[in-house]
């Protein structure tokens, strides 16, 4: 399953400045693994030491926050857009 991943500015040092990259995977966990294979170290910035989403990172599959879906097990159908966005906004 090929998806596009929107990269926040804070992580573009890993992607050579690219704001959107491609990755493969049937679930969000698979996508992050594939992303890390291409851009070494990026997964460790999105997930904490326990392998869970960091507290101040929101990840969306399509328009839905994965915390309302199946977290890292959320399916990522072909052509889906995954967005990684800092959570410290609003109010």
């Amino acid at each position: 399953m090929s998806v596009s991943v929107r990269i926040p500015t804070i992580l573009r040092t890993y992607t050579g400045g690219e704001s959107e990259v491609s990755a493969d995977g049937a679930t969000l966990a698979d996508v992050l693994d594939d992303l890390d294979a291409s851009y070494s170290g990026i997964k460790g910035r999105i997930l904490d030491e326990q392998g869970e989403l960091r507290r101040f990172v929101n990840v969306y599959v399509g328009n839905d926050d994965v915390r309302f879906l199946d977290h890292l097990a959320t399916p990522t159908p072909d052509g889906t857009q995954v967005s990684v966005i800092p959570a410290v906004a609003g109010g």
């Binding site: 929107r6 926040p8 500015t9 804070i10 040092t13 704001s19 910035r45 960091r54 507290r55 101040f56 990172v57 929101n58 969306y60 328009n63 926050d65 915390r67 309302f68 967005s83 966005i85 800092p86 959570a87 410290v88 906004a89 609003g90 109010g91």
Partner: protein, 428 residues
């Protein structure tokens, strides 16, 4: 010296620094999670851990007399804010120094000994948001932003649109399309660029974060200049202390949406203690949410540290943030100070609005109704000490949320224009 163009980066320091004194006595942005320090600039997330950045200062000595000699607005505290010393020379809405009302009738109704209402509905666009926006506007100017913008549950949109107009900046505000009509009109009168988004506030917030990451020159007040913006809420804490005669209250009840305001009132109290402007004493801070959007209250009651995001469903739209950025810090503060976080139903919110109106002559919006209703619930459940001096914060104006109570109030009678008809009503 030329100011830098605002950047979308959350990590890269500006290539040219802001002008000397652009952010007053602020010296850095510090991560609340890991302590990592970042240069002052348009940054809001820690480059190490994504944690929220907060303004760090090296304050000079500040006296009560110096503050009291200042203007009757938030700039009397400019030495404690991330703004330049000449802030008053740039057009802004000059918010703050709102009234602190002794609320004897409401206190009697609830069985409290001493109660005050900090009434922020009298700000220029009738909510506390004018305070934070004034600080954000200063940061946007100093960072040479071209567009002044925000995602908003309504009150912020009003404040940003008005401040942007006064500053002569292009202003774009994003709101959920189901927002109260009055809040839409109260923004649209100031700007042609009101954008209604089909989704809830958290959807609007996500969109704003994406735009902030892609468009150069945009200052989203509560996204990429959020550290400066949030500091404006400290002025609520400063004012409460000054208006009480330079002392801290025993208990404060504060509404919680993102949680930023509550954390900044606590920060203000701590700063006043550190600066020797008030006596160090215990105080309790309480958070108020509506049941239909109560992720912080739920975490407090469950005695857990993690906030579980929710899909908001409440009439208190100005508090309807399902994924509150500062929620965990609200938990920390309420627990540390011996306060609590409580929530009330929409019917109780409506009753809270009417209770404040009929006891104190203050017409609050749904957020204030929530806060007053939570105050009552805290008293009824024994979570708040009725013998201690208490302040409740009213953050907004009831005229913006008329629908909340429109079906509960109205003429007691409709009569012919005659004395007999009037006496027949029994009102005399």
């Amino acid at each position: 010296m030329s100011a830098p163009t605002i950047e979308t980066s959350t990590t890269t320091p500006a290539t040219a620094g802001p002008r000397e004194g652009a952010f007053g006595h602020a010296v850095a942005l510090a991560c609340r999670e890991c302590g990592h320090r970042t240069e002052l600039g348009p940054h809001y997330a820690c480059p190490e851990c994504f944690g929220p950045l907060e303004v760090a200062y090296e304050f000079p000595a500040v006296t009560r007399e110096e503050i009291e000699a200042g203007p009757s607005n938030i700039w009397r505290y400019k030495a404690l804010l991330p703004v330049p010393d000449d802030i008053e020379q740039s057009p802004n809405t000059e918010p703050g120094f709102t009234r602190l009302l002794p609320a004897k009738n409401l206190a009697a109704e609830l069985g409290l000994d001493r109660l005050w209402v900090k009434d922020d509905s009298t700000n220029p666009t009738n909510s506390f948001k004018d305070r934070v926006v004034a600080c954000a506007l200063s940061a946007a100017r100093e960072l040479d932003a071209k567009v002044f913008a925000c995602p908003s549950t309504g009150n912020l949109a009003n404040a940003v649109a008005a401040a942007g107009a006064r500053a002569g900046m292009k202003t774009v505000v994003f709101i959920p399309s189901n927002l109260e009509h009055a809040k839409q009109v109260n923004s649209a009168v100031y700007t042609d660029s009101l954008v209604a988004v089909d989704g809830n506030y958290d959807d609007v917030n996500k969109l704003a974060s994406e735009i902030a990451g892609e468009e150069d020159g945009w200052a989203f007040v509560n996204v990429n200049v959020r550290p400066y913006y949030a500091e404006g809420s400290k002025t609520l804490g400063y004012e409460i202390a000054e208006q009480l005669g330079w002392r801290l209250p025993d208990q404060v009840v504060i509404p919680v949406a993102s949680g930023s305001q509550l954390t900044k009132v606590d920060k203000a109290f701590q700063e006043l203690i550190t600066l020797g402007l008030v006596e160090d004493k215990p105080y309790r801070i309480y958070g108020a949410q509506a049941e239909g959007c109560s992720p912080v209250s739920a975490a407090y009651k469950a005695k857990v540290d993690a906030i579980r995001p929710v899909k908001p469903d409440t009439i208190a739209k100005s508090l309807a943030i399902g994924n509150p950025a500062d929620g965990i810090y609200v938990l920390d503060i309420c627990r540390r100070t011996g306060g609590a976080v409580e929530d009330v139903t929409d019917d109780q919110v409506r009753e809270g609005i009417l209770l404040l109106a009929r006891t104190e002559g203050v017409f609050t919006e749904t957020a204030g109704g929530t806060t007053v209703a939570v105050l009552r619930k805290l008293v009824e459940t024994g979570q708040l000490d009725t013998s201690l001096e208490t302040v409740v914060i009213n953050t907004g104006m009831g005229l913006k949320t008329l629908d909340a109570v429109a079906d509960r109030v109205g003429p007691a009678a409709t009569i012919a224009p005659s004395y007999d008809a009037f006496t027949a009503t029994g009102i005399a």
